[in-house]
């Protein structure tokens, strides 16, 4: 991939842009931000851009908190649990329905995409919330009896006032006979939602995995889908492809997930991981404790999908490999038809990304399939290993920014003038006001799925719609 070159993008220009931008910041902030931005060097084995550090106060970051990572990413998507936002009302309220982790089931009966909260009042802060929590879990189980488990996600005050939710959940697991999980994901912990993923993974490790066994006989093809949160139905577009190539997807983590399947995942033969950032911990735990190998894959765009299918199939027998080729052969014409339709409308366009999880690198190939080049990318809450995986995907000299502040991002976009920015809701309207087409790449902008072959068709349509909407031409007023 090292031959990727984008006309007009050079290391020099990028470094100059960075220098000019940071020069506008106060000394201390500049020093803190400097290591987080750089020009891409595709062949560097270690990406020079630093990450996973504290957000600089006052710079307007897009980051969320540990609770957000725990509730929004790991726990929320598990459909058959009651997830309790334990603490004041806000956290559960804001995160209710605002991440598009779709679920099957009968709402309120077997699936619970709702807002359960202890709605802390002053007295709970003063006297502690453990007793209330105990009663709450009892009430929740009684009113939603078909839940298969309950999670307790701590909000900031809980850790600060010294509550012991672990004791409560332990007691209630005994009493209710269901999986009851504590998750000490107070929002002040760590530097971003990333710690929330880690804490949640640890909770799964300590309180979930290994507690159940599958209700079907084991096969050599049992796998788990890890790190797909079913945004806009991604899991439903991804899982059938794997099944078509002969694999048995026993559990999905955690998109449209079932807690008991997650609890039995130690029995699978291979873990397939899409969002490395949020779930690599668990893959490593399962590898260490149960000897389950894991493999990363990328289901964005036909090029990466085919690569991934072959990579996965290589870990199985010839039968699976043949089926994988058959899957590729079957869907490639469909993907090509999509490319034939949209690539002429998008060829030569550029885009900049700033998202979370896996997307800042994983979607690059899908854009390239459509003829769009990515001139800048970055993560809200990545770690070094994310950036190391990103560098080879990006062209030389492209801009890499970690936890970019709105101040910086605006200037970078202003200079690089991409045809599209793919980022989050907080950035969307900033750039649209500047006349730049935008897609939300956390939520697929209420569209999706974007995973798999089906997802690529929708992705291509959406990107074309964003870039080629005639509404952008209306912005310039004739008076």
């Amino acid at each position: 991939m090292s031959e990727k070159i984008i006309p007009g993008i050079t290391t020099e220009r990028t470094e100059k842009l960075i220098a000019q931008t940071l020069a506008e910041m106060p000394e201390k902030a500049r020093k803190k931000r400097q290591p987080h931005v750089g020009a891409n060097e595709p062949e560097a084995s270690v990406c020079a851009v630093k990450s996973n550090r504290k957000t600089v106060p006052g710079v307007m970051s897009a980051r969320g908190c540990a609770y957000a990572g725990a509730k929004g990413v790991v726990w929320g998507p598990i459909r058959d649990m009651v997830h309790v936002s334990h603490g004041p009302v806000g956290c559960g309220y804001y995160s209710w329905g605002t991440r598009r982790n779709l679920v099957q089931g009968v709402p309120g009966v077997t699936s619970f995409a709702m807002d359960f909260t202890s709605d802390f009042q002053e007295k709970d802060i003063v006297y502690g919330g453990d007793k209330k929590l105990e009663q709450l879990l009892r009430e929740a189980d009684a009113l939603f009896p078909l839940n298969h488990g309950l999670s307790v996600l701590s909000e900031c005050p809980v850790g600060l006032i010294g509550d012991d939710i672990n004791a409560v959940t332990k007691k209630m697991e005994q009493e209710l006979g269901k999986i009851v999980v504590p998750c000490n994901c107070e929002g002040f912990r760590g530097v971003s939602q990333s710690l929330g993923h880690h804490i949640s993974n640890d909770s799964i490790r300590d309180f979930v995995i290994g507690k159940r066994s599958f209700d079907a006989p084991a096969t050599p093809y049992d796998v788990a889908l890890i790190g797909d949160y079913n945004i806009g139905g991604d899991v439903w577009a991804a899982k059938p492809i794997l099944e078509e190539m002969g694999l048995n997807v026993r559990a999905t983590w955690t998109g449209d997930g079932a807690i008991e399947e997650i609890a039995a995942t130690h029995q699978v033969k291979l873990n397939l991981i899409h969002c490395y950032r949020s779930m690599n911990y668990m893959c490593k735990v399962m590898e260490e404790k149960w000897g389950i190998p894991w493999v990363e894959y990328n289901f964005f765009g036909p090029t990466k999908i085919a690569e991934s299918l072959r990579k996965i199939a290589a870990l199985f027998d010839a039968d699976i490999q043949a089926k994988a080729e058959a899957v590729i052969a079957k869907y490639t014409p469909m993907a090509q038809a999509v490319i034939d339709e949209y690539r002429p409308r998008l060829e030569g366009k550029t885009a900049m990304l700033f998202v979370g999880g896996l997307r800042p690198r994983h979607t690059v190939g899908a854009y390239e399939d459509l003829g769009i080049q990515i001139t800048g990318t970055g993560y809200e809450f990545a770690h070094q290993d994310d950036y190391d995986r990103t560098a080879p995907e990006m062209a030389k000299g492209t801009l890499i920014y970690d936890d970019v502040s709105e101040f910086e991002f605006e200037r970078y976009v202003e200079e690089l003038k991409p045809d599209l920015v793919g980022s989050g809701i907080k950035e969307k309207y900033v750039f649209q006001k500047a006349g730049i087409p935008f897609r939300q790449m956390h939520s697929w902008d209420y569209s999706g799925p974007y995973h798999g072959y089906e997802g690529f068709r929708i992705f291509a349509r959406d990107i074309d719609m964003a870039i080629n909407s005639p509404t952008w031409k209306l912005i310039k007023s004739p008076f």
């Binding site: 106060p26 806000g90 310039k476």
Partner: protein
């Protein structure tokens, strides 16, 4: 218990059991059980204080909301506004983390103020807290004093601040606290020694409908009286797209707000979201300080205009009289489509009072009125309002109950329509009752904040939405033989 000891096979819920529970949650028995809960809150219809504080801060010109506490909170508030308005919501946080929890957030505040001041060039920053500094007891007064003393922020830079603990009240209380602090800060040293300046201060309260603000301004302009709208979020959250992003596209000018104590009168159109602000103004301001019901519906709007007329000594402008006449005409024409229809409403106290007034004057019935975080005072006032009309008979007020309680109410005592924010869409679906999206947040439809609900224009809009939706439903659900050209 260790994982090994507990390994048991996955159990799947039998379809018959799912069916049983599916029906059970619609029963009277379930309702009783549901209303008996004491610890669990399910689907509340209120947010936390700092969100309200942020909103009011956006309503002042060149003002940057500044969250003292966790970064994640700021992201939640911002994205909630982004989704509702489909507009930017520039806000910074000082991003306190574990060390802040141990040592307090003063250093975060210092650094945050310095960076935000330098990068986003605000003329004012409105500081408010998340629960973390509230729990650990950060002393904002001291911190801000120190920030000035140590040069992190210019000595004269306005830094109103408010304690907005999330474990107390709701977003409307944060709105109130922040508004009071902003006005206190700005007006300090601006109290005139002469008479009042003739201006009317108008406080809409926590209202996420930008068109309402424009409507207030239009009505006041019709009176041709100088006024100050506190706080005017209309341009901040409904700004032009001309190819240039502006972080502060509008808001109440700070110089104007600084004169708040010298106004001829202050009129709040919400009282539950302005309690402390009004209390302080009542003590500090020269002019009269009053609150009225939100001007939703004819009579509430009448009362508002009468009050303006009284305060200004001017007659109600002809243009507004004509609007009244046309809105009343629409109501008389349209009453037959809404007369006797039952509604469930939930939301903030002041919105509920306005909407209930409107429904009653139309002959509709506000059957279940629910506020998930409020006071006995509100309950009493709402009951009294319902008692003013024969159409309020049989209607019930529920306070500190949530939308899952409402689920049971709708299951056992159904209505024709639900009025509330987007969160009610699950109720609407479960019970096949149309949801009329009013309030905050509305994150699944576009532009609804761009259509006013207050004043005579708003009354017309509400009437149109309600009546035509029922007509849509009639046309969509009737059999061929009842499908007709006219309705």
């Amino acid at each position: 218990m260790s994982a090994e000891s507990a390994v048991r096979r996955i159990e799947r819920t039998p379809p018959a059991e799912i069916e049983r529970v599916r029906k059970w949650i619609f029963t009277e028995e379930y309702r009783e059980k549901n209303f008996a809960r004491q610890a669990l809150v399910v689907n509340p219809a209120h947010a936390c204080q700092p969100l309200g504080a942020e909103m009011v801060a956006h309503g002042f010109k060149d003002t940057l909301p500044f969250v003292h506490g966790s970064q994640g909170c700021a992201s939640y508030f911002r994205s909630t506004f982004n989704r509702h308005f489909r507009e930017p919501a520039p806000t910074v946080a000082d991003a306190m983390t574990e060390d802040g929890a141990v040592f307090g957030g003063q250093n975060n505040l210092f650094e945050g103020l310095e960076n935000a001041y330098s990068l986003y060039k605000p003329k004012m920053m409105a500081v408010f807290t998340t629960c973390m500094p509230e729990v650990i007891g950060d002393d904002l007064t001291a911190f801000i004093k120190n920030a000035r003393l140590q040069g992190h922020i210019p000595a004269d830079f306005p830094l109103p601040y408010a304690n907005t603990p999330s474990f107390n009240g709701s977003h409307i209380n944060g709105y109130d606290a922040m508004l009071k602090s902003i006005l206190e800060t700005l007006s300090a040293g601006h109290q005139s020694q002469g008479g009042d300046n003739g201006r009317i201060n108008l406080i809409p309260g926590f209202d996420a409908n930008t068109a309402n603000y424009r409507e207030y301004k239009r009505m006041l302009k019709a009176f041709d009286v100088p006024f100050t709208l506190l706080a005017d979020i209309s341009d901040a959250f409904d700004s032009v797209n001309d190819g240039t992003y502006r972080p502060y596209p509008g808001g109440t000018p700070l110089e104007e707000a600084a004169e708040v104590l010298n106004g001829k009168a202050t009129l709040a159109l919400q009282k539950y979201s302005t309690v402390n602000t009004l209390k302080w103004l009542g003590e500090a301001a020269q002019g009269t300080v009053e609150s009225l019901a939100m001007p939703i519906g004819i009579r509430n709007t009448d009362a508002f205009l009468l009050k303006l007329s009284e305060l200004t000594g001017k007659p109600v402008p002809e243009e507004l009289k004509a609007e009244r006449g046309r809105a009343v005409d629409a109501l008389t024409d349209g009453h037959q489509y809404l007369h006797g229809r039952k509604f469930a409403l939930y939301g903030d106290p002041d919105y509920l009072l306005g909407l209930v007034g409107f429904l009653l004057e139309l002959g509709a019935r506000p059957w279940h009125v629910l506020c998930s975080r409020t006071t006995r005072k509100f309950e009493k006032e709402m009951k009294a309002l319902l008692e003013t009309s024969e159409f309020g008979r049989g209607c019930t007020v529920y306070i500190n109950r949530d939308l899952w309680h409402l689920h049971s109410l709708l299951a056992t005592d159904p209505v024709d329509g639900i009025i509330g924010d987007t969160h009610g869409k699950y109720l609407a679906r479960d019970h096949s009752i149309p949801l009329f999206r009013v309030g905050f947040p509305i994150i699944d439809r576009i532009n609804l904040h761009r259509l006013p609900l207050i004043g005579y224009t708003g009354t017309l809009n509400l009437l149109t939405q309600l009546a035509n939706r029922f007509l849509d439903i009639q046309d969509e659900t009737c059999e061929d033989q009842w499908f007709e050209m006219m309705r």
